[in-house]
């Protein structure tokens, strides 16, 4: 199983840190994304070419999605949500390359992303309203709901990590098993499914992250609106 790459192997040791092939693949993906971004934005023009049009289309689509879920917060959320989508699409699809395994088939990586989503929810919430006002919403509608809110936060973060990890890992596992059982070319339908599943899972992960973040931001706004209405009354 180790040779198959399903389990992330350690590539080298950097002091106390073990650099696994998940991390190395992530670095490669980061490099590819950075180089592509640099190449695309190197000669931006007012009259865009096909590549620039595609890049602008991608960013415009992300903008519209964010604006639809969290109106007025596109500027704050775009880097995080957009990076999540772009990274997850490329990371999930990287498993299609022979000899390369998707970083998202490693629970450590998906959990890291889920933890980042968890932290960003609170970061954007606190940034929008402040610590006290943000934490106060855990006590709404009643302080009794506090444990349930906390459990919800933890479980949805774990679910976020495990969902992505489980789907991508199972896809690779399925393709490996079919390759072992049926032979060469047999996993091709599974690889086609891999493409769809990779895109869907990237979309789900990014959209859930967006909804969680937007929920925290808009809950503060709703609280503030209600508070303002009470003051007016």
């Amino acid at each position: 199983m180790e040779n198959s790459g399903i389990i992330a192997g350690i590539v080298f040791q950097l002091g106390p840190l073990q650099v696994t092939n998940t991390v190395v693949t992530t670095w490669v993906i980061m490099g590819v994304i950075a180089v592509l971004g640099w190449l695309i934005t190197r000669h931006l023009r007012m009259e865009p070419g096909p590549v620039q049009t595609a890049a602008e289309g991608v960013i415009s689509a992300i903008e519209e999605s964010i604006d639809a879920v969290a109106p007025g917060h596109m500027g704050h959320l775009l880097p995080f949500i957009g990076t999540l989508w772009l990274f997850l699409i490329i990371a999930n699809l990287s498993g299609l390359i022979p000899g390369v395994h998707s970083p998202t088939r490693d629970l450590s990586a998906t959990l890291a992303l889920a933890i980042l989503v968890f932290l960003s929810v609170h970061w954007f919430g606190i940034r929008t309203q402040g610590v006290k006002a943000y934490l106060h919403h855990y006590l709404r509608p009643s302080p009794i709901m506090l444990p349930f809110h906390i459990i919800s936060e933890v479980t949805r973060t774990i679910a976020l990590a495990v969902r992505l990890f489980g789907n991508i890992m199972s896809l690779e596992m399925t393709a490996l098993l079919i390759l072992l059982v049926a032979g060469f070319l047999a996993p091709i339908p599974i690889l086609m499914l891999h493409i769809i599943e990779a895109l869907v899972q990237a979309y789900i992960f990014g959209m859930l992250a967006l909804i969680y973040v937007a929920g925290s931001v808009q809950s503060q706004q709703l609280t503030q609106q209600k508070h303002n209405e009470q003051i007016k009354e």
């Binding site: 980061m30 957009g82 990274f87 629970l107």
Partner: protein
């Protein structure tokens, strides 16, 4: 612990590698920074610039649209004014045409009246000429008829009656005329020529000579000749004087009268 050992202990694919976990967090944060500075920001700037350009173009277009609307309204007003002026000009022209038509009609009416008058005059003249022609024809025909009739019925009796009529009229001539006749006949040394249609008998000749000698006081000899063209009656030539008492001269008088007409 290798993978096989991990699998045996159940610590396999669900194992958390904290190094990977930490490095993935760091990697993702770095990726956010890279994309934010080298991808999102430039592209968003370009999009913003393009949107600003589009908005400026839209504002310019809106401004042009407003100007075009204003110009359109101005032109429409001008067109309306032109229409009004054209209508007024047309009405003025219609009035002028009406006045000119009435003037032309009156001129035409006057010309027609004049022409009618001329035509009436011409027709009247033609009618008069026709009437005169008819009268002339009638006179000529009458003269011809009378000539033919008198040619047929004339004879010595008629001639005697004409001579008697001549002698009576000569006797009853006014004194003034008679004296003029006497002066002219007395001065004349020519012979007196009496032309008759029929031979005059001695009684008639004696009566004639006696009357001529007594009334006109001529002294010359009286010559007689016959001319059947006279039809009946006599013609007496005394110098320049010719006294006519015959049908030919009377009918000729008719004819001359007809010619004079």
């Amino acid at each position: 612990m290798n993978t096989a050992e991990k699998a045996r202990t159940g610590d396999t694919i669900l194992e958390l590698n904290w190094s990977t976990f930490i490095l993935e967090i760091i990697n993702f944060l770095i990726l956010i920074w890279i994309l934010k500075h080298f991808f999102y920001k430039p592209v968003l700037d370009v999009i913003a610039r393009r949107r600003a350009g589009i908005e400026k173009n839209m504002e310019d277009a809106q401004s042009l649209h407003s100007e075009a609307k204003a110009l359109q309204k101005q032109y429409e007003n001008r067109l309306a004014e032109w229409d009004h002026e054209r209508q007024a000009a047309r009405e003025a022209l219609d009035k002028e045409i009406q006045v000119e038509r009435e003037r032309q009609m009156s001129v035409l009416q006057a010309t027609l009246e004049e022409e009618r008058g001329k035509n009436r005059f011409v027709a009247q003249r033609q009618l008069e000429a026709s009437r005169l022609h008819s009268e002339k024809e009638a006179l000529m025909q009458g003269a011809q008829f009378a000539t033919k009739l008198l040619s047929a019925v004339s004879g010595p009796e008629l001639e005697k009656r004409l001579i008697d009529l001549f002698l009576d009229e000569l006797s009853s001539l006014p004194t003034e005329q008679l004296s003029k006749l006497q002066d002219t006949a007395g001065k004349s040394s020519n012979n007196i020529l009496v032309t008759s249609a029929h031979p005059l008998d001695s009684n008639n000749r004696q009566s004639l000579e006696r009357i001529l000698h007594e009334t006109i006081a001529v002294s010359g000899p009286v010559l007689y000749e016959q001319d059947k063209a006279l039809l009946a009656g006599i013609r007496i030539s005394i110098g320049a004087w010719i006294l006519r008492a015959n049908l030919l001269d009377e009918l000729k008088g008719f004819t001359d009268f007809a010619h004079e007409i």
